[in-house]
Symmetry: C2
């Protein structure tokens, strides 16, 4: 069943009517050809409700709350808070990362300008990209039945972002050199120590990886290098591997 996020400042009761946003209205009415009475899931705050379409207007659709869904069946968030921070990759790779990392439970996405990035974003491009990534994250959160939409942070320099991290966060960076050395244990050691609610930060290079100075800077600021196994993963595959490993260890 299709799921949509709805914003409302009020408490919601059975029978209440709620408006969908323009993007979701268009999706439900135009793309899915939603008919009056069609059931959807709506998410308000951290609660999911069963709702029915009562106004099939493609600019402003309206649904009516029918049932509160059980929390046990709707808990779809990772038990830890994982921020994925990535260098800027070519083409639509950042979009692929945001889409698939959202499905895999990422809490927030931080684009980073790294030395070996083959693309640069100027201020205007960074803004355009951010809006686009926000839409991708919302659609992916709805499709994967999440309770929250990952935040897309504005582009930052590595040093600017590293300085802002909470002291109690588990901080890692995916470093190919570790894989080449045959030392693959660090990620598992780190994941095994995770407590519910813990903050996790994982940094990934773009196609070019990290400059040694950046790796040294991360190490000096408490980030631990980890391998993602013996094969060299593409920039857009690495975050999915890490999130899948966290999900496998904590959710299955």
């Amino acid at each position: 069943m299709q799921q949509y996020f709805v914003e409302s400042n009020q408490t919601v009761e059975m029978g209440d009517h709620l408006d969908l946003g323009p993007q979701d209205s268009y999706h439900l009415v135009k793309v899915l050809r939603g008919q009056i009475g069609q059931e959807v899931i709506v998410v308000l705050g951290d609660q999911k409700y069963l709702a029915r379409l009562v106004k099939n207007n493609q600019d402003c659709a309206q649904v009516q709350i029918v049932q509160t869904l059980k929390p046990s069946l709707t808990q779809t968030e990772l038990p830890v808070e994982v921020v994925i921070a990535c260098g800027l990759s070519k083409q639509d790779k950042i979009e692929q990362i945001v889409q698939k990392a959202t499905e895999c439970g990422m809490t927030a996405f931080q684009p980073l300008a790294l030395k070996r990035d083959v693309v640069k974003w100027d201020q205007k491009k960074a803004q355009t990209k951010r809006s686009r990534l926000e839409k991708i994250a919302q659609a992916a959160a709805e499709q994967s039945k999440r309770l929250t939409v990952p935040e897309i942070a504005p582009l930052k320099q590595l040093s600017q972002w590293v300085a802002d991290q909470p002291e109690d966060a588990l901080c890692l960076y995916a470093y190919e050199e570790k894989a080449k050395e045959g030392d693959h244990a660090q990620l598992k050691v780190a994941i095994r120590q995770l407590q519910p609610g813990q903050k996790v930060r994982i940094v990934f290079g773009s196609e070019g990886g990290f400059d040694p100075e950046e790796a040294a800077y991360l190490e000096a600021h408490g980030f631990r290098a980890c391998s993602l196994g013996p094969r060299i993963l593409r920039a857009e595959t690495a975050p999915i591997y890490a999130l899948s490993a966290i999900s496998y260890a904590l959710e299955l």
Copy 2:
């Protein structure tokens, strides 16, 4: 360092010259602008060698073997044999699956015609697709530094393929209904029982998932339903999750 697969029926010794195939010659000489003396890794059988470019012809490049690389640093294959079988998805999703599942260690790929697939491949399309997927698998195996290129099997019907599976294989299928029931343990239970060298088969639906008859057929033939966690993953994300989980459990 770039890696290429080389075919040769002979034993290779230090100083031997080897021809790269036309696709790899073009890649090294034209795309990477490889100069005489440039170092690459070549894979013959299950052994990796350091080699140097000695003839930079873009149709037929030649390298010379310089050094045998240590097996401990070149063991990049999953310790189990995982065949990924998938329904036919729209657009380039099958290509994404083959590329990323190759990086994540898949042994072979089996395209399956399932009832809810939104696309169909006729005989001609199946052949074209297979050649294209073979090229993608080879490039991804080289990029991720694997020792083998995953085999791309010809398109089959589900029943035709299921009947062919070895009796001792661990057979699973990713079933969304399991996720909805909140039962997420099966994949972990299965992975924990894996022995080195064991054969694993995992079936994934396309966007439409499995028809209940197909799920019943798989169950009747010893395939166990498993959830990939509480979020609903896209057709192209699910195989990567499963392979990442296997790698995390067995390789890290």
